[in-house]
Symmetry: C2
């Protein structure tokens, strides 16, 4: 019984990875940069996306929203004029590559687009599923505490960039930013960390500049 | 292949449930009240526990700490003189009943104890695994936002009580408490909601009173 579980787990990951690689190849060929947005429930992933997209003027953007239930975030994005599609996983704790393939089969995305995929709010499971992305942005937030890189290392290890949101709450919280940045640095020394506040927009110019740079490098490939 | 996955998933849940029920029966016979503490990463589960335990004078307490990695929280509890044991799941996104059984086989817990089990920080997976608990406390927090009961319904549905932590941040955050409480009310009308602030201890007397009441009822059974 135990062995069967382990074998099956490997099969699921392998199949997911295979489809993820196919999606990435197809998106690359169409010059669509895919960005997986990960973070805990309530880190502010959607609000970060809104502020970031505001600063990507001239670049077409599409968002796929992953949620267990509801389309609260998709409606929020659509009300701002952003192309957004919903995936409801009905209780599944992460997005996987077949879910993304199903959406891409139904929706036409223009070449040159940045495709943001907002994953389920969870620092654990989504880290282990390739969804065909080129980049991963991990959104952490000040009220979650400065020990998160130590406690949830895998998600930080595989991040292309880390966004530390709700920087406006720093004065009200015992958040040790040096400890946080050291934790990230040990796990993932090359990933930039951006302090931002989605509430007032602070710090988003640098994040947008970094992503625009990544997009330019991507196009040259 | 797909059928095999589904069958196996059921087997895992069934086996977990069976062991959970055995644990609960054994703990009940020994007058040990088991409380599963659930919540997102960074909701403040450990800090809530510390404040709650401070107010349970005269009741013996033991804590089992679940984390992917590290024993940061266990050391924190032990430094306060609290009996605490660590489970590191090495990447698994939830505690399960065999993990609890393994700890209980190794550690002697006195009759009359409240056994707190702090689950992995995750609003999704831990909700689906019975770990032999009598009560479930879900810790949510103001900075996570007021839409959490709608987006993560299962964990709120099965809560015995809900703790809304970091109430001191209310003035700095667009948190709609009516919307939050309505969401809980629809999902789980009988569960009390306690507004607390683990930073300064506000609201913990009522939470401790509720738990002491639950313990008294438990003993009478």
């Amino acid at each position: 019984m135990e062995k069967e579980v382990i074998d099956l787990k490997i099969d699921i990951y392998e199949e997911n990875q295979k489809i993820g690689e196919e999606i990435r190849k197809e998106l690359t060929a169409r010059n669509i940069l895919s960005v997986n947005i990960l973070g805990s429930a309530g880190a502010g992933k959607t609000s970060v996306l809104v502020r970031l997209i505001e600063r990507l003027k001239g670049i077409p953007v599409t968002v796929i929203e992953g949620d267990l239930e509801t389309d609260i975030d998709t409606r929020k994005l659509q009300s701002l004029g952003i192309d957004a599609y919903q995936i409801n996983t009905n209780g599944i704790c992460h997005l996987d590559s077949p879910m993304i393939r199903a959406i891409l089969g139904k929706k036409e995305i223009a070449p040159g687009t940045i495709l943001f995929v907002e994953n389920i709010g969870n620092l654990v499971c989504p880290a282990e599923f390739d969804i065909g992305e080129h980049l991963r942005i991990v959104v952490s937030s000040v009220p979650e505490g400065s020990d998160k890189p130590y406690k949830y290392p895998i998600i930080f290890q595989h991040a292309s960039a880390i966004v530390l949101n709700k920087s406006d709450l720093m004065p009200y919280i015992d958040f040790d930013e040096t400890y946080f940045r050291e934790g990230v640095g040990v796990m993932n020394p090359s990933a930039p960390v951006f302090d931002v506040c989605a509430k007032d927009g602070t710090g988003f110019d640098m994040l947008a500049e970094w992503l625009t740079g990544e997009k330019a490098k991507f196009k040259q490939k």
